[in-house]
């Protein structure tokens, strides 16, 4: 195992080992750059993934306290879980469903496409679509995405048959088993999908792409990676010139350590990325690192994520098969006639028995109605409405000085006042989901409210103008030349796509940039 000295001033420190950090670590180490990869969570394996729903949740999830505020219904419905993020080697790539969707060309020009929207802080991405597409294609080859590069689609599960039938009856054209980073046959030294469900508990065949068993071991094999699991970054330090010099972290025993660094990349998922930058305040940067324009944590976006559940009178057994069984793409278009800007994906989703009751169904449901629905568990179908959230400068992640983590550091507070556009989009999406299920013969349809975000984005966004965001088009901090943001925080707007593929594509692009800048001795 490679060990990099704490005093090594020539290595990179990447914080977070998920889609962004894990991919970046592999890309840089294979080019001969030494990387220290700090990960707060523990290292699991295909063998150690728990298949007991509650246990798996505890094994992979960030469970330390966070607080929340604002008018979003998540505050009332999920008081202890404002955001559902991972804390494990591989990050959210361990618990994601494998949906590898691209942002659409018009979505990365949101300000231009949607125009001025009251109460929204839209900007265009400082990246051109052809360039993004180039990296999407590299990412899709690397992750072995279905329906791309000649790969077949996933086969249709019983659950998908219901979805497909209803969608076609509604007139949808683009409905299929999705673009999924899930092997339908052995490939990339990974196993194939055996349609067992349990995608989000950690895929025990490795069919679903995760940095845990692709990018990270491959980076280790280069001899240039020093992965330090169960190590929590608590502060990024800088020198008199304002450049980052070191990352202070707590080791597994809780002792403080300091890792010197030539370049620091932050990829902790938007909530913790923001918190780490704010915790890194100093005399020179009293508002936190990379925050001279007061942009860190602002414009926080999730997705308009909510469920529609169809109850049928015939068996479906929707837990059999991939958790996300298919998508409708037709509603991703921007069509203001629907009453809102932007679009959404309808994604077919199943939940295990305790999770559907706890998190999937309306949080106000109990009594005979709950009993009726749960007794029909084997005859249910589910849709997740994954739509574009509009950024607001006041939707912001900040530090909450009143609540401390086990190290005595203030926790993150997530403030979200839903934009009216989100309500309109959710209503439309849920009505379409309801119509879809009714077209397939549902005897009852239920709708949840907004669920805790697993897609956390835009809190340190890329912007052309430093006054609009935290980082430039390459994820490089406007304020600190050797500090990068390498996760979904850097996305300028969230699009309607599940973020993982975009995070991987941006990490691949960022690796090219960092290598060029390091070669030029610019960083």
């Amino acid at each position: 195992m490679t060990s990099i000295s704490h005093d090594d001033t020539n290595s990179m420190v990447i914080i977070g080992s998920g889609a962004g950090g894990g991919t970046l670590a592999h890309e840089l180490t294979r080019r001969g750059i030494k990387v220290v990869l700090l990960e707060a969570g523990a290292r699991q394996s295909l063998a150690s993934f728990s298949q007991v729903p509650g246990e798996a949740f505890a094994q992979l999830t960030w469970l330390e306290p966070r607080t929340q505020s604002g008018t979003t219904t998540v505050v009332e419905d999920y008081p202890n879980l404002p955001s559902w993020t991972a804390k494990t080697v591989g990050g959210t790539t361990v618990h994601w469903t494998g949906a590898a969707l691209r942002a659409r060309p018009w979505e990365i020009r949101a300000r231009t496409t949607y125009g001025t929207v009251d109460g929204a802080s839209l900007i265009d991405w400082p990246v051109d679509y052809p360039e993004l597409l180039h990296y999407y294609q590299i990412a899709e080859r690397r992750m072995v995405v279905t329906r791309r590069n000649g790969n077949p689609g996933l086969p249709a599960s019983s659950h998908f048959k219901v979805f497909h039938y209803g969608a076609k009856r509604l007139g949808y054209q683009q409905v299929h088993t999705g673009y999924m980073a899930i092997n339908t046959r052995p490939a990339d030294h990974r196993g194939m999908c055996i349609q067992q469900g349990f995608c989000v508990q950690g895929c025990k065949t490795g069919a679903k792409w995760s940095t845990l068993y692709t990018e990270i071991p491959r980076a280790e094999a280069t001899g240039n990676l020093d992965l330090r699991a169960e190590c929590r970054a608590v502060r990024i330090e800088h020198g008199a010139d304002g450049l980052a010099t070191a990352v202070v972290y707590r080791d597994p025993a809780g002792n403080e350590q300091r890792q010197r660094a030539r370049v620091v990349c932050v990829a902790c998922n938007a909530v913790e990325t923001t918190r780490l930058l704010l915790l890194s305040e100093s005399a020179k940067f009293p508002q936190g690192l990379a925050n001279s324009n007061d942009q860190v944590g602002r414009h926080f976006c999730h997705h308009t994520g909510c469920f529609v559940w169809g109850v049928f009178d015939k068996p479906i057994d929707f837990w059999r098969g991939t958790t996300l069984a298919g998508v409708v793409l037709d509603e991703t278009r921007h069509d203001p006639k629907r009453g809102f800007a932007g679009g959404y994906h309808l994604e077919m989703a199943a939940l295990d028995l305790p999770s559907i009751a706890l998190a999937g169904l309306p949080q106000t449901l109990w009594g005979r109605e709950l009993g009726f629905v749960m007794e029909h568990y084997s005859s249910m179908a589910g849709i997740y409405v994954n739509g574009e959230d509009l950024p607001r400068s006041t939707n912001r992640i900040t530090l909450n000085p009143d609540v401390k983590d086990p190290f005595g550091l203030p926790v993150a507070n997530i403030h979200v006042d839903d934009h009216p556009n989100n309500d309109a989009m959710r209503r439309h999406g849920q009505q379409q989901g309801k119509a879809l299920f009714e077209a397939a013969g549902a005897i009852k349809v239920l709708m949840s409210r907004q669920t805790p975000a697993t897609h956390n984005m835009c809190a340190a966004r890329m912007s052309r103008d430093p006054r609009d965001g935290v980082v430039n088009a390459h994820g490089q901090a406007h304020d600190v030349a050797n500090l990068f943001v390498s996760d979904g925080s850097a996305m300028s707007t969230p699009s309607s796509a599940n973020p993982t593929l975009t995070i991987v594509a941006l990490a691949l692009r960022q690796a090219d940039y960092i290598e060029r800048r390091m070669s030029a001795r610019a960083i």
Partner: protein, 185 residues
């Protein structure tokens, strides 16, 4: 098995209360339990309080053909929380007292009415959340709901019925994909 202990193996040491019951003849749960008679020790709350919480749990998530035993697991989970957290014990005590001793034996309509009046309280939300997590999270009840739990150990469902729905038409191959290892689907 700790949760549904048989009478003769039960330890009374330190117990503040006890819930007992007998599994119905033919109950699927009887297949898993060492004896049809079960008893559950409570370590923080009293027997009468446990009975109220059990009735509340059954009212929140009613399943007529389900024995009391899995609902007793909910009470045990609440009792465990109360053991660890004095504030939770106080919350439960206060909530139970508010419902009154007659709640446990009241008709369902009366129980529903009593709970509806308090459904925004932390007590109700806590009992509801623990009911959902414990009742539906217990492998004991999976069979009742038709849920099959983990399937990795059985090779998944790829060749064991993941696509066996026959009451709707098959999906064209263009919108799905081939089943690897099977002749057709």
């Amino acid at each position: 098995m700790r949760v549904i202990a048989t009478m003769d193996r039960r330890e009374f040491l330190g117990a503040t209360g006890v819930l007992t019951g007998v599994l119905a003849a033919g109950s699927p749960l009887a297949l898993f339990a060492p004896s049809r008679a079960w008893a559950l020790d409570l370590k923080a709350i009293a027997s009468a309080e446990g009975a109220v919480l059990l009735a509340a749990s059954r009212t929140i998530a009613p399943h007529d053909r389900l024995d009391d035993a899995p609902y007793a697991l909910v009470v045990q989970a609440l009792d465990d929380n109360a053991m660890r957290d004095a504030a939770m014990l106080a919350l439960l005590r206060q909530g139970v007292a508010g419902l009154g001793a007659g709640f446990a034996t009241a008709a369902e309509t009366e129980r529903v009415q009593a709970l509806a009046a308090i459904e925004t309280t932390p007590f109700f939300k806590s009992v509801r959340a623990t009911t959902l997590m414990t009742l539906y999270g217990s492998p004991l009840v999976y069979a009742y709901f038709g849920y099959e739990g983990e399937a990795f150990s059985k090779g998944g469902y790829l060749l064991r019925g993941f696509n066996d729905l026959r009451w709707l038409p098959e999906v064209p191959l263009a919108d799905s994909g081939p089943v690897f290892g099977a002749d057709s689907h």
